[in-house]
């Protein structure tokens, strides 16, 4: 139920924020006989920080040892890897190379390998320039060596959120979109743009706005300091230039810029890291793009000759502290999940399990857990079969042979399925995240009007 009036009777749990973290929490709660609502101000799930993720499935090798983030990323990677295989979320275990471009970075590699071991990750090892060159022949000149982290992978961030939300909705969770929480009155009466919502327990997964919601509950534990990350996506031919996730070596100056293949068959260059005041400042800037291109030219020079398919910017919900800010307030029957940065995608399922434990500790009696009915998401990954190339699927339904988006080879059948799904898109951009329609090199030159027509028809 994405529209319509809000129910008068209270929910057992209301989760505010339908990003990757909130959706994972709602999915976890759906396993119990509880009345749960997943609420978001936007008109689609994953519409904030989650959609602009760098899409890496982390091992957690470089987390701060002993931190909550280190534990949840480690557990989350295991959980999400298994879940992705079941739910059809594309994952490619490419492995990462942290490339050292100067002596200082080279000297940092053994320490990073040690830190990885402290984080329980034992497969990281430094490699020399010759091996690095053999494994990444298109790397720019001057690379001195790398830390090989074979366990890192890439994942589809859009399908992940949708899988969680779809499974939650199918299991009875109410998804309330376009529902911005404006105030919280005592007794968990949430005043929203769609009316008043009542909850016995409240989970704050509001991402960039988590501190504001926290304040409505009387807490001043942290401040969100949005950190903008601009990204450039290069077209499919760039994919042949990069075999691993090429990570920068973190230095005192920050985490730096990565070059990474995507499961959609493209290459990502970014992100920038700019502290901004405005929580809606998701625009790219000329300076940011010039900076990324300069970095990209150094890392994989041939990349810059390839066509750009997309430029976008996301805001990480950073706080003044490095670790996640997950806190339970038992007296208030309230859990805050703040300060979740880009690792939140990997950690999402572990965060969800942790939050449900906290809710139980605060008095929630969830009842017996059950296995959720499995979901199988439409495949958006290049490494797995897609309908346009599947003779049997086309024979069974010719709509899978009718390619609408030529660059990404998205068929009318896939678009129709997405429009009729349990969590349907609210805009052509939402349709793009569900199908890849319009995500290619032509950016709608050929298919934009046709895709929009299909979207309008379904409304």
């Amino acid at each position: 139920m994405t529209g319509g009036p809000l129910p008068a009777e209270p929910y057992d749990v209301v989760v505010v924020g339908a990003g990757v973290v909130g959706s994972a929490i709602a999915r976890e709660l759906a396993r119990y006989p509880l009345r749960t609502a997943l609420v978001d101000a936007a008109d689609d799930v994953g519409e904030g920080t989650s959609k602009a993720n760098t899409a890496i499935l982390h091992t957690g090798f470089d987390a701060v040892p002993g931190s909550l983030e280190a534990r949840l990323v480690r557990e989350g990677q295991r959980l999400l890897t298994r879940y992705a295989a079941e739910a059809g979320i594309p994952v490619e275990p490419l492995g990462a190379l942290l490339v050292a471009w100067d002596e200082e970075q080279l000297a940092a590699l053994p320490g990073l390998a040690r830190k990885a071991r402290e984080n329980g990750y034992r497969d990281a090892r430094p490699i020399g320039a010759a091996e690095l060159r053999a494994r990444e022949p298109h790397l720019g000149p001057g690379a001195l060596g790398a830390l090989d982290v074979p366990g890192e992978g890439v994942i589809c961030p859009w399908t992940t959120v949708l899988a969680y939300a779809t499974q939650a909705v199918r299991a009875g969770v109410d998804l309330l979109l376009g529902c911005e929480v404006r105030d919280v009155r005592p007794g968990h009466e949430l005043v929203t743009t769609r009316g008043v919502l009542r909850a016995r327990y409240l989970v704050n997964a509001a991402g960039l706005y988590a501190d504001e919601l926290d304040r409505l509950l009387g807490h001043r534990d942290f401040n969100v300091r949005p950190r903008r990350g601009q990204l450039i996506v290069f077209d499919a031919f760039a994919r042949d230039l990069v075999r691993h996730i090429l990570l920068p070596v973190p230095t005192a100056l920050g985490k730096g810029v990565l070059v990474s293949p995507t499961v959609h068959g493209k290459v990502l260059l970014g992100p920038t890291a700019e502290d901004v005041d405005d929580r809606t400042a998701t625009g790219s800037t000329a300076e940011g793009l010039a900076f990324l291109r300069e970095k990209g030219r150094r890392i994989v020079p041939a990349l810059l000759d390839e066509e750009v398919t997309a430029v976008y910017a996301g805001l990480r919900a950073a706080t003044e502290e490095d670790d996640y800010r997950i806190a339970c307030h038992p007296g208030q029957r309230y859990v805050t999940v703040g300060g979740i940065r880009s690792t939140g995608l990997t950690a999402s399922m572990a965060i969800a399990a942790h939050v449900v434990d906290l809710l139980a500790g605060a008095g929630l009696e969830p009842g017996p857990a059950r296995e959720l009915p499995a979901v199988r998401m439409p495949n958006l990954g290049e490494a797995f079969p897609r309908p346009y190339a599947d003779a049997r699927a086309i024979a069974a339904d010719p709509a899978y042979g009718e390619i609408v988006c030529f660059c990404e080879r998205v068929t009318r059948g896939e678009i129709r399925d997405a429009l009729a799904s349990a969590v349907p898109p609210a805009s052509p951009a939402g349709l793009r995240r569900r199908t890849r329609a319009g995500a290619g090199r032509c950016q709608g030159y050929y298919c934009g009007a046709a895709v929009r027509a299909l979207f309008e028809e379904a409304r």
Binding site: G283, E307, T309, A310, A391, A395, E402, R409, Q443, A449
Partner: protein, 379 residues
């Protein structure tokens, strides 16, 4: 996969060049000539489709070529299923597209209402969609920009301004009663949900915001080269289209390339004519009279020239086309190989980036086949 079907000539793309090629090939008796077109609706080129069919070519629409299964063998997808088609010769006529906003690296937000000229045309003509109320058109190529302005006005959209980096003389004559901001760059897009305006910077550094709910990026044609490239066809660095000789032969035996795929935008009629010109070389190849040439001496354009077509020397071909990257006033164009002058010609007009300059090809006979690349430059 279904068994392989075989035809004599497979033309990929039913734009003007592909249809012109198919019509001529069928008329000259090239055997079975089949055109594959991924769009279902042919739109503006319908009359050339009629001509191609009348000549005996088979035209199949709604069929997408998804890749190469082997030399001269293509895999296709259509509602009828997957099919593999082999040919004795393949003519690539996949056209060109306008470079969209992202690839132009125009910063700002990502609102709705950001189009290319091609998307605008399809939205208005084919789907009768609402394209906003007030638009800004961006582009350096007068033909493409003018076409977008016309389409917008026909759809009842007010055109607030035409923004171009170039210096356009007599702008009023271009589109009539339209503010033309020449020497101006688009520096950002504004608005959430829907576009609210574009930021521009004039040549003198002044900045301004133009309020609009639609922006149309026109021109900057990019060859749709993905099929060519995935088949191992070498590209020419200047055009980013397949490198061809004067007989439209690419680096891969039996694969020809024609039309806008070679260098971006071209007029419809011009593309039909050039498409027809590929028929004779294809027939010569099919008859076995003309063996496929080796790599050939490359012909390259040096800055400030952007490209030259054909870009490999071989048999055939009447003339070369040269395009400038920026306006050049009465340049002297020089063709040379390894320091040996082959042609020197004063151009008695301005060379603009949106128009090609034809060069005669008489000098090609004096090129040393074992020598270095032929360079086209301006003095």
């Amino acid at each position: 996969m279904t068994p392989v079907r075989t035809v004599d000539v497979l033309v990929v793309g039913a734009g003007p060049a592909g249809l012109g090629a198919a019509a001529r090939l069928a008329a000259l008796g090239a055997g079975t000539v089949e055109v594959l077109e991924r769009e279902r609706d042919l739109g503006a080129v319908r009359r050339w489709a009629v001509a191609a069919r009348r000549a005996g070519a088979v035209l199949r629409t709604g069929v997408t070529v998804t890749g190469w299964a082997g030399p001269l063998t293509l895999d296709t997808t259509s509602p009828a299923g997957r099919e593999r088609v082999a040919a004795r010769a393949v003519v690539l006529a996949t056209g060109a597209r306008e470079r969209p906003r992202a690839a132009r690296l125009v910063p700002g937000t990502r609102p709705a209402g950001v189009l290319t000229g091609g998307e605008l045309r399809r939205a208005v003509r084919r789907h009768r969609q609402d394209v906003g109320t007030r638009a800004v058109v961006v582009g350096t190529e007068p033909d493409a920009a003018r076409r977008a302005v016309r389409t917008l006005r026909r759809a009842g959209v007010e055109v607030a301004a035409l923004v171009t980096r170039e210096r356009w003389r007599a702008p009023g004559a271009l589109t009539g009663r339209l503010p033309v901001l020449d020497g101006t760059a688009v520096t950002g897009l504004l608005g959430r949900g829907r576009l609210s305006g574009v930021r521009v910077r004039r040549g003198d550094g002044r900045e301004a915001t133009l309020a609009c709910d639609t922006v149309v990026f026109t021109g900057e044609w990019v060859p749709e080269h993905e099929l060519a490239r995935s088949g191992g066809v070498a590209l020419a660095p200047g055009t980013r289209g397949p490198a061809v000789d004067g007989a439209f032969r690419t680096s891969v035996a039996g694969v020809f390339a024609v039309g806008a795929l070679l260098h971006g935008g071209a007029s419809t009629v011009g593309a039909v004519v050039r498409g027809r010109a590929v028929a004779a070389p294809v027939l010569a190849y099919l008859s076995g009279r003309a063996p496929w040439p080796g790599a050939g001496v490359p012909v390259v354009a040096d800055a400030p020239l952007r490209w030259v077509v054909p870009n490999r020397l071989g048999a055939g071909g009447g003339r070369f086309l040269v395009r400038a990257a920026r306006p050049l006033v009465r340049p002297v164009v020089v063709v040379s190989q390894d320091g040996v002058l082959l042609l020197r010609r004063r151009v008695w007009r301005a060379l603009v980036p949106s128009r090609s300059l034809p060069l005669p090809a008489g000098w090609a006979a004096r090129v040393d086949p074992g020598g270095g690349p032929v360079r086209v430059r301006v003095w």
